[in-house]
Symmetry: C2
Subunit: 346 residues, 2 copies
Amino acid sequence: MANTLKNDLLIRACRQQPVERTPVWIMRQAGRYLPEYQAVRAKSDFMTMCRTPELAAEVTLQPVDIIGVDAAIIFSDILVIPEAMGMGLSFHEGRGPAFESPIRSRSDFARLREINAEQDLSYMLDALKLVRRELNGRVPLIGFAGAPWTLASYMVEGQGSRNFIEIKRMMYSEPALLHELLDRLSDAVIDFLTAQIAAGAQVVQVFDSWAGILPPQYFQVFSLPYLRKVVDGIKGLGVPIIVFAREAGHSFDQLSEIGADVLSVSWTEDLAEARTAVGDKVALQGNLDPCALFSTPEVIEREVKDVLRKAGSGGGHVFNLGHGILPKTPVDNVKALIEFVAKHSG
Amino acid sequence: MANTLKNDLLIRACRQQPVERTPVWIMRQAGRYLPEYQAVRAKSDFMTMCRTPELAAEVTLQPVDIIGVDAAIIFSDILVIPEAMGMGLSFHEGRGPAFESPIRSRSDFARLREINAEQDLSYMLDALKLVRRELNGRVPLIGFAGAPWTLASYMVEGQGSRNFIEIKRMMYSEPALLHELLDRLSDAVIDFLTAQIAAGAQVVQVFDSWAGILPPQYFQVFSLPYLRKVVDGIKGLGVPIIVFAREAGHSFDQLSEIGADVLSVSWTEDLAEARTAVGDKVALQGNLDPCALFSTPEVIEREVKDVLRKAGSGGGHVFNLGHGILPKTPVDNVKALIEFVAKHSG
């Protein structure tokens, strides 16, 4: 399917093939910083937007049309998997997502429903199909899922957390139960990403947003093996795989060997050092500080040049932020970012 | 003064001298996990406790008596410097500290009062003198201050922050103003630590709690030079200096060369890799995950042995957590921790 794309820069950069210029997309690019997104969101709650393919498609396409990014990423949330497992997800304004009944014991774990993505997450697959049709090859479409460790962290904590005491308690005191949960989630993620690719996703990204709450030696035990399992499970499907293990730069070397095509680098890490750590085994994605977009075009241009310089000329590079774009980011600065990436990488 | 100490393990470990066993203290050891602390806190608000030498001394001594740590650290807060500068500090239960008028412009900066620690922070100096007297040489007394970058972050944000947009905006858009603020804060920190040492502090720790919100290249510009200035300013006073640049492991190598005696290592970093990065140039402090204390004595013993093994036998090691102890930590587990450190390092 990739050869029907009018703009396949992202696909080629992920595969470390030559590109005319560095492709750029933005984590959370379909989001609150855009007035056009806010207009849709004002009429529907977050989960309704996720569950309604027409609404999800509309906001997915906005940054392609308005900002000019080189990829669309389907509008959804990593928590749709635990939600489908029956965990009772709700979103509270200002407090983030929360689950009714967190997983704290083996009996909680036993309550989780077995899911099948084709049936239980069909709304997201329908949204992907709709976006693929409406994109009509303009840019590639990215699918995504949460990494097992990050999903488990939300499911055990029950909500966003500052100190992650509950998932750590399980990690230290009941590691066997946690491994069972992680294994189960890995299977669900593989099933879901496989279905997303069948529905039209041309690239997939796995978000291990809470990788950084693990001490390095436990990242090796509770995150890395499940990232590897997920990548193994979808590796043969022919689409590039991006892994974002946020703030796990301590393990770039091992991450570069799990079979992913691209590692996404947090803004808290040095992109040049990441390149040194991984050599040419993978392409890199990132890693502008999202806060830099609150400054001036002059500063943004300087920062873009710095990121491009650190990415180097060998090995693929996908320009992105080093974390999701923040809600009040000025839209003009985002447009300027896209222009500067083109200007200085072309 | 150190030679009058009955237990000078901390002093010797900081100086990388031989010790019979590894000394241990705990960041925030005088704090909410202790019922005896809560009893004092129930009768006085946080700032009243800081400002009343008898109350500050009482809670400072509690962990020495109850837990058996090898050092006392004076009960206070890093924000007493900006408070003395006239920023109107308040503490809201559950929301943390906040300043009435954050520093956002040059005119805000111009409003800051020049301070003199002997006059404006005499309450903390009096508390130090009182604790020194009551300790009577049982263990060393640690003084402390916030690092310039971390103080500036609080002063510009006005409160604890998730994304630190305001301090980043100043960093990207008005770096000259930020440098002036950091320089001014460095002088205040030097003055304050000098006064603390004169008042009886036998070790000092500089807390750069927000070092990790800086992209690595900007840590080099906005934090490291001011840490160096602070260390230079107090280096000649004869007491060991501990620097805790939280989540700035990317710069251990440079941090080991600013003249500090000890680097404190976050739990998000690998202590063995920190040792490799710094060689024997400094002692290391840390770095048990505070969440490990919510597990069982068996797990805590295993984790203690792991930290001690990674600390290695060459170079000094001060056992500590890799961040402050959490409010609901079981006290018995803290006592067990102290015993395990003695058992496995003796």
